[in-house]
């Protein structure tokens, strides 16, 4: 059975792997079940097994490192979907835990793994377009591997600074999921999902759970749209 490998941040991660308070509340609101996420909707429609490597709060470096670390799991005819995230996010070793901490723009909220001033300077430096270009460089390598190994790779982004500024012709390349949509400046494909009726957790729970990640409806729409895109370009998908 072919496999669908998904990489990204919380926009990709499975609810069950990310038991934050808001998700537990959402689960309770729904009577004790989590809805299917878009990777689950998509893998089911593709009839592929799923390996979801998404990790909430992670930055693009983590996403790329996770791909490198698991690259040997990806085989010919598999499908890989990489969701890039906010460029300001970065990795830092927490000296107390000796593991990676993941930070992004905004206050540290008492985290002492890094000083406020260093954190601010790093996140400001990461607003530089070079960090976006770094993502495009990784994509070149992934594309080369995709071609030589024979897996399909698709990209999308949760950060309006990544992929969306590419010129319209380039974005029509099949590797950019929903790249042919006209997304207004300063928006992402989330806008399209919401236009089609997708709702956030907050909306689905009538503001009882204050979380702006996708709820069931939005995941379903995104999974369907991605399926249509892939089916459109991949003749092996029935």
């Amino acid at each position: 059975m072919n496999k669908l490998h998904t990489f990204g941040c919380s926009y990709t991660q499975d609810f069950i792997d990310n038991k934050i308070d808001a998700y537990i509340d959402y689960c309770n609101f729904r009577g004790g079940t989590f809805p299917l996420t878009w990777p689950e909707v998509l893998s089911s429609k593709l009839n592929f097994s799923l390996k979801n490597y998404g990790r909430g709060g992670g930055g693009n470096n983590l996403i790329f490192q996770t791909l490198c670390n698991n690259i040997n799991e990806i085989k010919k005819d598999d499908i890989v979907i990489i969701q890039w995230t906010y460029v300001h996010r970065y990795m830092w070793v927490d000296n107390k835990k000796n593991n990676w901490s993941h930070f992004g723009a905004g206050p540290l909220n008492g985290d002492t793994a890094i000083s406020e001033t260093t954190h601010e300077e790093i996140t400001f430096n990461r607003t530089h377009p070079l960090y976006v270009n770094q993502v495009y460089e990784w994509m070149k390598l992934i594309d080369t591997l995709s071609k030589s190994i024979g897996f399909e790779v698709y990209y999308w982004s949760g950060d309006r600074n990544v992929l969306y500024p590419l010129d319209e012709g380039e974005k029509k390349n099949k590797k950019y999921l929903l790249g042919d949509l006209k997304i207004p400046r300063h928006e992402t494909i989330f806008l399209e999902i919401f236009k089609l009726g997708g709702k956030t957790i907050k909306e689905e729970t009538n503001d009882l759970v204050n979380d702006l990640h996708f709820g069931e409806t939005a995941h379903k729409i995104m999974g369907d749209l991605f399926f249509d895109h892939i089916k459109n370009y991949n003749t092996k998908i029935i």
């Binding site: 670390n69 260093t118 770094q134 390598l141």
Partner: protein, 248 residues
């Protein structure tokens, strides 16, 4: 003709690609003739391969990896790639206006390390914090092994040979003997461990070169030149050890 690709820092770049580096000018004046060949050129000649040297002095491991990515499309079956990892403290930092030096194409990455002083693009405390974080934990070394995984796969799928070595002893040479003993770690069978006779800034790799008779510029010039990169004998020894290893 097959190609031999080199990626790394100054230890791969050698002394020809930058003729403005003062210690190399001093060395050239001292010997009174053209500087000797760099190990990769000697090796390319011995292997009868076309040399493509993408080494760049002061590069960090991130930058070395990115230079590989930028050029990996030209690597063909049966080519050889030799990657020299560098000191873990080094990192790259986006240069921000208005401190861009004149006549420099903007935007560009700045090369920052423990020896960078008073750089206007990064606060001193930020530089220290980042370096301290990088040198204190093996997780930054693990990043390099993650890069290797993807390079190894590309090597396998395209059919080129890839070899790694490192100027930093915490990379490659801190692996267990079972893991180190892989073909991709060039001259892994010769590397010197914990020999008090050879303590130098270059770590175990350069101690090995020294053990086989390779000297630095400083040593070859009786310390009249200040540079501690490899001298004529050092480059010759490195190329010979690499050649013998590759031909095995």
């Amino acid at each position: 003709m097959r190609s031999l690709y080199g990626f790394g820092d100054s230890y791969t770049q050698g002394h020809f690609l930058n003729d403005t580096f003062k210690p190399f000018i001093q060395w050239k004046e001292y010997i009174g003739k053209e500087l000797p060949p760099v190990w990769i050129d000697i090796l390319g000649n011995k292997l009868d391969m076309n040399v493509k040297n993408y080494g760049s002095a002061g590069s960090s491991n991130q930058e070395i990896f990115h230079t590989f990515i930028q050029n990996c499309n030209e690597i063909k079956k049966d080519d050889i790639v030799i990657i020299n990892w560098t000191y873990i403290d080094r990192f790259r930092w986006a240069a921000m206006p208005p401190f861009t030096p004149p006549n420099t194409a903007f935007p560009f990455w700045k090369k920052i390390s423990s020896s960078t002083l008073n750089d206007k693009d990064i606060k001193e405390q930020t530089r220290i914090d980042i370096i301290q974080n990088r040198v204190s934990y093996d997780l930054y070394v693990e990043e390099v092994y993650d890069y290797q995984k993807i390079i190894d796969l590309l090597s396998k799928s395209i059919g080129f040979d890839v070899y790694y070595w490192s100027a930093d002893p915490s990379i490659i040479y801190s692996l267990s003997k079972e893991i180190l003993n892989q073909k991709k770690y060039i001259i892994n069978d010769l590397i010197i461990f914990n020999d008090e006779k050879y303590i130098g800034a270059g770590g175990y790799f350069f101690e090995t070169i020294s053990h086989h008779g390779g000297k630095t510029v400083q040593e070859e010039t009786n310390y009249e030149c200040t540079d501690n990169h490899l001298g004529e004998s050092g480059h010759r020894v490195q190329s010979e050890l690499f050649y013998n290893y590759i031909k095995k």
